[in-house]
């Protein structure tokens, strides 16, 4: 492209503990065994794109606990949302939750999450890696979608759409969560559990297990659910937010990379939206309670 503007792209300098490309995922392919995937904190993902005037399905980076470092290979505008963190551009403090302009060569450092788990780094124009089944999400369960970026990965940036960069009039930095409260609508397999142990669930305090990931939020330390019947459930279709209970009796809340079918009974479902967005930001050890939803 001699004579033209340099192609917009960002190079990964520091990949962080786990940084993936995410968008709205691949809903509609579950019958082929394809997980839905997509940004775990859908609210923070949507906000990052709105700040930049991006279409609502533009691909962004989702970081895990310790942020990411990027270098702009051409001038771009970025925004960081989700878990609050320090944002620095070539060493100077920059805004979280607002459009930030990067010159060619500038280094964006998205710091460790001060609270929460996952920060979102959007770029105006969106990351333009090739889509798979209509989505640029990395699916960590089945391996579909773009590979996990490592230091040196160059991420192309798409052309900006017609909407202007907006910014926000007022953006509240979320406070550190003190507990995760998950509304739970019982069913379809609540009858697989002793009623007394289901009653105890509402009084129990669990903690987020460090084994949690994009597939599921695992719990520990709470009251164990006791099955009222033996035998195995033939595998059946699973939904986002399904609370599966394996034989150890500790609930697992299915997040975006959950398998499309599963054989453990589902006690109930946590609705998508704010409750699952909060689950995406719940770090290990955070107290978890279930309330009737």
């Amino acid at each position: 492209m001699s004579g033209g503007a340099p192609e917009a792209a960002l190079e990964v300098i520091r990949a962080g503990a786990l940084t993936t490309l995410q968008d709205l995922g691949r809903p509609g392919y579950a019958h082929l065994g394809v997980p839905r995937s997509g940004a775990l904190d859908a609210g923070a993902y949507g906000l990052a794109n709105r700040l930049l005037g991006n279409p609502p399905d533009a691909a962004v980076l989702e970081t895990t606990l310790d942020g990411v470092g990027l270098r702009a290979l051409a001038p771009v505008t970025v925004a960081v949302t989700g878990a609050p963190c320090a944002v620095r551009v070539s060493g100077r403090a920059a805004a979280w939750g607002a459009p930030v302009r990067l010159r060619a060569g500038a280094e964006l450092e998205v710091g460790r999450a001060e609270s929460g788990v996952r920060s979102y780094v959007a770029v105006r124009g969106g990351f333009a890696v090739p889509p798979v089944l209509g989505s640029r999400s990395t699916d960590l369960l089945s391996g579909l979608g773009p590979g996990v970026p490592v230091a040196g990965t160059v991420l192309p940036v798409g052309p900006a759409g017609p909407d202007p960069v907006r910014g926000a009039d007022e953006l509240r930095v979320p406070g550190a969560p003190t507990e995760l409260v998950l509304p739970l609508r019982l069913g379809p397999r609540a009858d697989w559990f002793e009623p007394a142990s289901v009653a105890a669930l509402w009084r129990a305090e669990f903690r987020v297990s460090p084994a949690s990931n994009r597939i599921g939020l695992r719990t520990e330390a709470g009251a164990r659910l006791v099955r009222s019947r033996g035998g195995e459930l033939p595998s059946e279709g699973m939904v986002l937010g399904a609370v599966q209970v394996p034989p150890d009796g500790l609930p697992v809340v299915f997040l975006a990379d959950h398998p499309v079918t599963g054989g453990y009974p589902v006690l109930g479902v946590v609705p998508p939206g704010p409750p699952l967005n909060a689950a995406a930001q719940a770090g290990p050890g955070l107290p978890v309670r279930f309330v009737r939803g």
Partner: protein, 205 residues
């Protein structure tokens, strides 16, 4: 047919047999094709259930479905694909022994069976194919293999399947196909979508 509401936007319909699942699944696809199903994002059959996800009103949909007359599945319902197979699997001898046939007759048994994709799972494009009579159902291997090659035709329980990519697996491997069962760049991405009929045709070399 027992409909169970799943959260605010899904419905799980429990059935008594794989045949009933296949019949309801075919009816759902027919009605979706005819524009009679309404907004349903995912229709996900499984062993004894069909999940309808992304539904505006699961309760109302359950009431409608309860009034349907679901005809039994016609043998010829669904598209037919023919898949070439070389019978070179490492478990061929073991499968022949369990079936009580000569090794070379395994291919005839499989070729004489019309399979149907009951559902997908395990990995994108991995179809669970039914059709083998009960006397030919096989256990999984005692020790799963750490790597089953892509394209392996495998049997376990009441199911046959083809591994879409190399992965760990505990099924009995009887052959290999060059057919690409999963390609996300292709439309359709999965050769074995639920409802598809499958014949395996022996090839040599």
């Amino acid at each position: 047919m027992r409909p169970l509401v799943v959260g605010g936007e899904a419905l799980l319909i429990e059935l008594d047999s794989a045949q009933e699942v296949a019949a309801l699944h075919a009816e759902l696809l027919r009605r979706r094709e005819a524009g009679e199903l309404g907004d349903v994002r995912d229709v996900v059959p499984a062993a004894r259930t069909v999940l309808l996800d992304g539904v505006a009103g699961p309760g109302a949909l359950a009431d409608r479905i309860a009034r349907w007359e679901v005809p039994p599945l016609a043998r010829t319902e669904g598209p037919l694909v023919t898949v070439p197979v070389r019978y070179d699997g490492p478990d061929l001898t073991e499968v022949a022994r369990r079936w009580g046939v000569a090794e070379r007759e395994v291919a005839d048994v499989v070729a004489g069976t019309e399979f149907r994709v009951a559902f997908c799972g395990f990995a994108p494009g991995f179809g669970y194919l039914t059709g083998l009579p009960e006397r030919l159902h096989l256990p999984r291997r005692n020790t799963p293999r750490t790597a089953v090659p892509a394209g392996s035709l495998a049997l376990a329980g009441e199911y046959a399947g083809v591994y879409p990519r190399s992965s760990p697996g505990g099924w009995q491997l009887i052959g290999t196909t060059d057919a690409v069962v999963w390609d996300p760049e292709r439309e359709p991405a999965a050769l074995f979508a639920p409802g598809v009929r499958v014949r395996f045709e022996e090839v040599t070399g």
